[in-house]
Symmetry: C2
Subunit: 531 residues, 2 copies
């Protein structure tokens, strides 16, 4: 397998030559009904990816296909599935796909079949959740557990939180709600303090999530909670489970009701489908629901094996992102789900994308000479329409957009006003925005006419849509973006699976806390903060 820096590929030159085709793409002329019908790809769980409103022509598509072939994107994905060391910086395999099912060869490590290990943990925490739901596992005062609180940060927080919020209303509607879920992440004591204020501690089980077992924030919050439990006369060991690696100080520890294991082959931001997301989602909605998420993700992983970019949504989404980033020179992407249930999904994607591909060196640690991962941000629509969309429509820069929408609501609880339901209004808004961003609106008149009601258009967007946001659909969406980010990392020849950028701050923090920062400027800052 060949690992080429992006600017050393033949496709790079070809795409550079094609850049004017993208910049001059005439949306008013080209975005017609036929294009909307044609430019779509079937995804897992009945979802569809539509890229009609992207500034992409057939020659550009051909060049992107050539890029996919030249960088062997799908072949690299297959290597990853088969257990190749794709996390070069940390010398690790990358196996989050295996959490959802077997797509490659069986993966062995130190004599162990990793797939078996993942399946075994899945069954263990499924049984644990069933034990809590069935009332067999009870609090230290004999109460049934009614709430579950995850203590974790970064990947142990954002993904599981986004998924949990995404299914709350669905679960209420479908009668699948078990424990009420909450999250504590920040080392700011106000986070834990605020969450605890709403809990009945004697009906709450806490999940402590730290792969290394050394995460500063998580250990501090564990102590905060143990302190509260003790003060309430409760036994912390009957109210807390651990999700960690088998080599961590938290493993095999009688201080916990039970422990579930992950390993170094699943990175934090890719861990939502491991025990990191699985324990809380199984407790909140039942193990069957978590398995539906896994099935949806597995199906998306399978769809991502297709080599034809016109038939692989994750691959094409990745390549269009590269086209926009490196050739149209657009340094950001907004994710805009028209679904309140996905309110924190953009925050998860922000981590997934920016932590994976916000890198300036290639997989071998050599600086690259091209732009890599963009800034990712977003909020749900229609809320965003009344907020930052002004900038997206009429700002001096162009921000590429990624819309998500569904035909039906989750709650199936709606009202009709002025002849349409709220869900219909939501969808009408979504469709309108795509076309408004692409085509804009001219104002007629000479140069003395005010242009403040003019919309320049030319704002590219894609749309992922489906029937209803179910657990399987959610799993497919999650995996789609994981795979998109992976393919982009392959294009840019990055290691998308480490995060060395978090280390320097940690080192300096430790020095300060040990009383010797080694930098007078740093000491001056700590003084300002009353430290």
């Amino acid at each position: 397998m060949q690992y080429l820096d992006f600017d050393k590929t033949a496709a790079y030159g070809r795409l550079t030559d094609l850049a004017p085709e993208g910049r001059e793409f005439n949306f008013i002329e080209k975005l017609n009904a036929e294009r909307v019908e044609k430019c779509r790809i079937a995804m897992a769980s009945g979802l569809t990816y539509n890229w009609a409103a992207k500034a992409v022509t057939e020659p550009v598509l051909d060049a992107l296909q050539a890029l996919a072939d030249e960088q062997e994107l799908v072949a690299k994905y297959k290597l990853l599935l088969d257990g190749e060391i794709m996390n070069t910086g940390e010398n690790r395999k990358v196996l989050h796909h295996l959490l959802r099912g077997q797509l490659g060869a069986p993966v062995l490590s130190e004599g162990r079949n990793i797939g078996d290990f993942y399946r075994q943990e899945l069954e263990r925490f499924s049984a644990f959740a069933a034990g809590i739901h069935g009332g067999k596992i009870r609090s230290s005062t004999g109460n049934a557990f009614k709430s579950v609180v995850q203590i974790g940060i970064g990947g142990s927080d954002l993904g599981p939180r986004a998924l949990s919020i995404a299914l709350e209303n669905w679960a209420l509607r479908e009668g699948r709600n078990h424990l009420k879920a909450a999250f504590i992440s920040n080392v700011d004591p106000d986070d834990a303090s605020r969450v605890v204020a709403d809990l009945n501690l004697d009906e709450t089980v806490f999940i402590l999530v730290s792969k290394s077992g050394t995460t500063q924030e998580t250990l501090a919050n564990e102590l905060f909670i143990k302190d509260k439990l003790k003060k309430a006369g409760l036994d912390p060991s009957k109210h807390m489970v651990a999700v960690t690696s088998e080599t961590s100080p938290l493993a095999h520890n009688p201080a916990y009701l039970d422990s579930f294991y992950i390993d170094d082959f699943v990175g934090g931001r890719y861990s939502a489908t491991s025990a990191v997301g699985g324990v809380i989602l199984s407790l909140a909605f039942g193990p069957a629901v978590f398995k539906e998420i896994l099935a949806g993700a597995h199906e998306a992983d399978r769809f991502a094996l297709e080599k034809d970019i016109r038939g692989n949504a994750s691959l094409l989404d990745a390549l269009i992102g590269v086209w926009e980033r490196n050739f149209l020179k657009l340094p950001y992407t907004a994710v805009l789900p028209y679904s309140q249930a996905l309110s924190r999904f953009p925050a998860h994607l922000q981590q997934l994308d920016m932590e994976s591909n916000g890198k300036r060196v290639n997989r071998d640690g050599r600086p690259v000479g091209y732009a890599t991962g963009p800034v990712v941000f977003g909020e749900p629509g229609t809320n965003g329409q009344h907020s930052f969309y002004q900038h997206l429509h009429q700002g001096t820069d162009i921000v590429p957009l990624q819309f998500i929408g569904f035909s039906e609501s989750q709650g199936r609880d709606d009202v009709e006003t002025e002849g349409s339901t709220s869900q219909t209004k939501l969808k009408a808004n979504l469709a309108s925005q795509i076309v408004a961003f692409a085509k804009g609106r001219r104002v007629s008149g000479d140069e003395n006419v005010s242009r403040n009601k003019e919309f320049p258009g030319g704002r590219p967007s894609s749309l992922i849509y489906g029937e209803r946001l179910t657990p399987a659909v959610l799993g497919s969406l999650l995996a789609h973006f994981e795979n998109k980010v992976m393919f982009q990392g392959f294009v840019w020849n990055l290691n998308s699976f480490d995060q060395e950028g978090v280390q320097l701050g940690k080192i300096l923090t430790k020095k300060i806390l040990a009383g010797d920062s080694g930098d007078p400027a740093l000491d001056a800052y700590t003084r300002l903060l009353g430290l």
Copy 2:
């Protein structure tokens, strides 16, 4: 008063010449203890703005002062305070400062003293809140109200929601919590459906907020709620108040328990200190707390009158933002509060900034030839450190940063682990990040050494810090950013107070709902969405 496009000023040329000073700013050499001590400005409510880690030299400061003088930034602010028509596009005064107190001349409009009107409404809704807290105003079944839910979108949601979340833990600690606050914004019926599931309707009062009284989302959600209230056997008119303009269809309407008024001189994103924020914050925390917010904001408004940029934090913050946007060519800003209480403050600032200054025409409607407002995004620290900070530290592009931090926690409920409290860890992390971003870390060795542990540094940041996040501090923070955005709008010669960019989508949505979109491509999109 002269209104010049930015690129027509003498300062623009001077700053262009100085740009290399910023790009080559040597943080390792220049960011010493003396600079950290020196580069700070006192703000309202005991806050401080520190800009030591910004790529700004004395000649740049001098040029920014010249820009402030040439564009008459403070003089324009004074005109605005005195009631000049600064919202040129909509031909309106801009009077959100007057909500907090009188700084300019009395403002009259159609024979009415607007300051008197604002003060009168403040007293009216303060009395209303006291009536609810005292149990004089009760639900239709005679219950005391325990929850309050705001129904509003955009400015009627983001600011009030951010402020409400920001004070929850403070109020719990200080015994100032009255009603529990929640928010419904999205037209997605899953939003209202999810919020209602957690409520006892017979103990809930709803606030319907729409200045025009015609906001599609808000009216749909009003009906959704009225429907639920009726089905629960409750009288909606005893459970709902309106915040609207006196000319709206909602005004003086017996369908509401009471109505509180705003006017066209306060824009949605500037309305948190009007009845739009005031009713819910007074109900949640008491009228005295809301008045403390106003006092903090008023003090910040007064501080913003200073002409010397070295003594006016809002002005300098604005000018450094312009320096970074137009001369260092950095198209985004991240807002990073080290306070979980400010978890939704970045979402409010995203609206405030991007809706105000995401404009491509000047105040007279003529296209401008320079970049205006940046993309704004952010999440609280330390959470972000475990998420998108990888990109900020080691990405290929530089994102300017705005940190916020406090000496003390709100809840004053903390634990010590490994010799330090969580609050101390939080502050140590904050200080470390500033220095890590600025100075980075070199890796020694030849070109064959892996650079994945290298940090390029050169990432500029500012820090706003204070003692503790109280209502007054929160009000000062809010007004600081409002005034920063206003000053930037004056520099760019924009009208920061309209939002024509939201109109096109609304028009297309109406056409779709009326059955005639007029565009076959739009029809194709609506078909995809099952509309």
